[in-house]
Symmetry: D2
Subunit: 343 residues, 4 copies
């Protein structure tokens, strides 16, 4: 950001879909950022959001050419991510890009290598790292409050499956849904050495017919013997169930769900507590705000990006390994994936 | 118990009603006691329980005359308690007597004075003092874990009112239901200096027509400024709600309900937890067992009675004060009650 | 607001102290409001906040004379509230005023009567009514989910006492701290017919020497027999403890604390859960936002004020009654207070 | 039991070790059973327990020859189980045998086949099926309260590892510790079609040197796509952590830990809740009682054994499959194990 005040960081949003709208609001609510332009392959979508936010719409070329734009936020479709990262950084912009970097591991890997070589400023939007509860858990762990880690369990249940059209374009449950949990595992424990996956189609047969799973369990094996489990379903009727448990030599730490309220209703039928909030935008609202501020503050301070393109590649690597494990019904070493995909 | 082994303590039960049946089972389950005889003003009731337990029935005179009987357990109607305590101790028996000592404060006071003067072995059945959760709370308090006590709150809700015939003979909500909570307050904090009471009839108009309340709140005022609240209702639709909170200078300790199971059922309708157990016999089952063992062990060791007749009088004194406070709509000093009742 | 769009509501803040700063942020964060001016008896305080917020400072007269100002928010010292309400409404402004209306019941009553007679638009800042948890409880009650109400219990513990200088100017614990809880009781159940109070100084002897209590319990008696209890302490070492329980004929509803996180730490020492958030600004952050939006929306729709000056008077009336009850050690009828104070 | 009253069931206990002592107490506490004799390969151990319980000691031959003995309870070392089952049933006794049937799958299988062929009355002691909480969960599931099952998660953590001598004779973590969880999974869902296992030595290197794991995770794959996870550790510093979660199409049911008390201690350091009870005998005390009663009642009614030798074989089969999976780092089909072991 050089000598520019953080108050004046001008941001262009690329992508005016659901997640783009969310980021438009996040940027606007941040006192240190200004949403300066909106671009979308579909000009009507751009215009609709632009009018709502009182922000002008432009095409991507104009955005990249504009010296007054300091940063771009990429929220367009996945297949545009890696290109836009490279074009944005080439144009001198700081880049915040939604996950994943790319569905193809080799493409993501190439992008990461380039960003690492050039020192470009790119952050990947793994928002869950910024959830206050998950951060409290990580802090307790890093502070040694439970000693050496032994078992990690991540429960990550969506309340309802997305539309089938979304699923078929998503890269599959491991690369679309569990990617978040792979990243959380990496954030807590670094990369494992091997992956074992199990998966089924139990929620909607159409998902299975499309070649995907909707119910999946993965075991991560670490070099020193630690073990992690991740559980995903596309449908938990009671809400967005997001929990982490971490067992260590001297204790267990866990973080639970954020509920709709603290209301308890007791009657002859039992004691009814409030459910976890249903929608991920509500569940991770605070995380999205914090994520954006972390990006801006890293730019301002010149410090390292809080989530790097390499982090994006690593999560993808685990997804890829899980897909192989599921297909071959055996444990897959991470090194095997590297060779195979990037060779 | 002299040189007799604790294994051979022979007990006669006087009173074969609901609470008598409970004690029959408690005594039988205790390896150190033997239920040796059952008496009841209604010979048929005695016989029924006697046959069930495989124990002979006798009349009270025969029980008191039998040298082989070491202790009597008085579970007959309230108006017989004080007399039986006196006859039992006169006959050289150790006595365990259900609460209350008597509905009339003066009669209870006379009984306490005599027992204190003679050193007779009499325990009053305030079973809640033996609940493991309440004991854990008291232990934490006595150990100074929250510093100086400031506010105490006892919630004591019955699941459903007893029959009206029971209520009309019970001495009223303060002497029948809240008596347990007065005793718990005394056990935790000793006697207060004054009492303020509020009460209503909200559950069943027939209770109000009988001159009683079914919903009551009492504030206890202690000499050093501490304050306690007790809340009672005759009907909590969700079960037997029994909680204590104790606020101190450095923290708050609380004990909650014992629930039917640890089952949680999550669905779109919310997260349904199990209710508190419904019936007091189930809720305080462990307490009844411990209470009896505490009596037997005190007899064996020659130590002081865990709950004395004086404790019974003190709880009654608070009930009496609450009744005056409710009638006069003002705070009543305990000293005023003493004078009034025993003068 | 006539034909003016809600987007353009211009607000002047009067009072740049702690609560004024909070409101400055709340107004700024609301898309439908604009903080247009800041006034404070202390020009330096006004200037400091004005610079921070990028808002010009003026004196009250200038604010009231400015046609472009639609509403004023009164966050100055208590003794200026009633006058500013009257001056503001006389100048045609909508008025949002922090509680209390005045420490003197008669002055508050006069203000309410005038506002009621003229239909002026004044809202009093009882923010807790806008807490999402409390609202969920009220909604469940109003919807009949527990049948007829019987007992209400409000626990309202502050984490630490305010400075003594604040306490001595505050009007005392009932008018300063418990005023919020009186308002919550009124919001849930309407006005009671009588009040019984108990209070002590246990936290800090200096508070007692200043003639105030720091530990207080009040029982509210309703015409139909319902009973409410309010418990206050100036110091709960574990955080801002804010709970409501409401027992009805068919169930009990309760709302609990908002905790710092969902973290649980299990070890040999026990299972340590996160504490309630410590500071009231954090605890009621959402409530402050919602409160302001409710004010703006009521202005826009022309609907009734969500919290009226009469609500402010009613809460004050209960505080006054509690003070009499404490002094006289008896239950005080609300009608007695009305006569006494306004006669 | 023919025409014999259940009140008179005479039981001989074979094995006077830790678990034998537990059963001695359970039998004694059951009104319908009488502990009639105790046998142990170590006559001193038998005598010690016999004196404590007031029961005569005999050798196994004498027990089996005694017509007055109706049932034997086998609590001797694992390698004697299958033989004693066969000798006991041959002598006309009903048999209750502690798990496992045998460490060798083929031996257990042979025993099951014989018992099935002859209709002999043998129950295996998988006590956890009789835990009231687990039973409440199963009942809710069987009643269809969450629709079709999808994911099951069993957490089963011991508080501390047993002595190394125990571990080396135990058959390993899957056959000794996880055997209980395999049985619970079978009880809830029947046999899976395949098993994937992961395991490490993280608690005590000596366990690893002995060729065993102390930390293990297993995934069970069912024919219709359902998935189950079991997690074991030999050391959870905070107590005996025993939980089950079951996700279905319309909800999730879970049962949690039984805690030492309901005490909560709130202070500036957080809110400390009571830990799960530490010792399995305490955790499953009720389950042991119910298990024994279920055995006696099944004998009395002539109904099926609540837990059969086949159930014991099935749990062992999963343990065997898990061991293969761990060794080969791949998913193992149950059919593969059957062939391999019994061929």
């Amino acid at each position: 950001m050089g000598d520019r005040s953080v108050q004046s960081m001008n941001v262009a949003l690329i992508g005016a879909g659901r997640i783009g709208r969310l980021h438009a609001r996040t940027i606007s609510a941040d006192a240190g950022s200004r949403l300066a332009a909106i671009a979308d392959a579909d000009p009507q979508a751009a215009r609709a959001l632009g009018e709502e936010m009182g922000v002008e719409t432009r095409d991507v070329e104009a955005v990249l050419a504009d010296e007054a734009i300091h940063a771009i936020l990429i929220a367009s479709s996945t297949n545009t991510h890696a290109d836009l990262i490279e074009r944005g950084t080439a144009a001198g912009k700081a880049v915040f890009c939604e996950k994943p970097v790319d569905l193809a591991l080799a493409r993501a890997e190439a992008c990461a290598t380039r960003v690492e070589a050039t020192g470009e400023r790119v952050m990947i939007g793994f928002n869950r790292r910024f959830d206050p509860n998950f951060q409290a858990l990580r802090e307790a762990y890093v502070n040694g409050e439970i000693g050496q880690g032994e078992m990690l369990m991540i429960t990550s249940f969506d309340p309802a499956p997305p539309p089938l059209t979304y699923i078929t374009a998503s890269g599959g449950q491991f690369r679309d849904q569990m990617i978040h949990d792979f990243d959380i595992a990496n954030w807590l424990w670094g990369m494992p050495k091997a992956v074992t996956a199990a998966g089924s189609c139990l929620v909607d047969p159409a998902i299975g017919e499309a070649g995907d799973t909707d119910t999946a369990i993965v075991i991560l094996h670490y070099a020193d013997g630690r073990l992690a489990t991740i559980r995903n379903t596309r449908r938990a009727s009671y809400g967005h169930d997001q929990r982490i448990e971490l067992l260590g030599a001297t204790g267990l730490i866990e973080v639970g769900n954020v509920t709709e309220s603290t209301l308890i209703h007791r009657s002859a039928a039992g004691s009814r507590h409030s459910n976890p909030v249903h929608f991920f935008l509500e569940r991770y609202m605070t995380a999205f705000d914090r994520e954006w501020r972390a990006f801006r503050e890293a730019l301002l301070s010149g410090g390292p990006m809080p989530v790097t393109v390499r982090d994006g590649v690593n999560a993808l690597l685990l997804a890829e390994a899980a897909m192989h494990s599921l297909a071959e019904q055996k444990t897959i070493a991470i090194t095997a994936i590297n060779a195979q995909e990037t060779g």
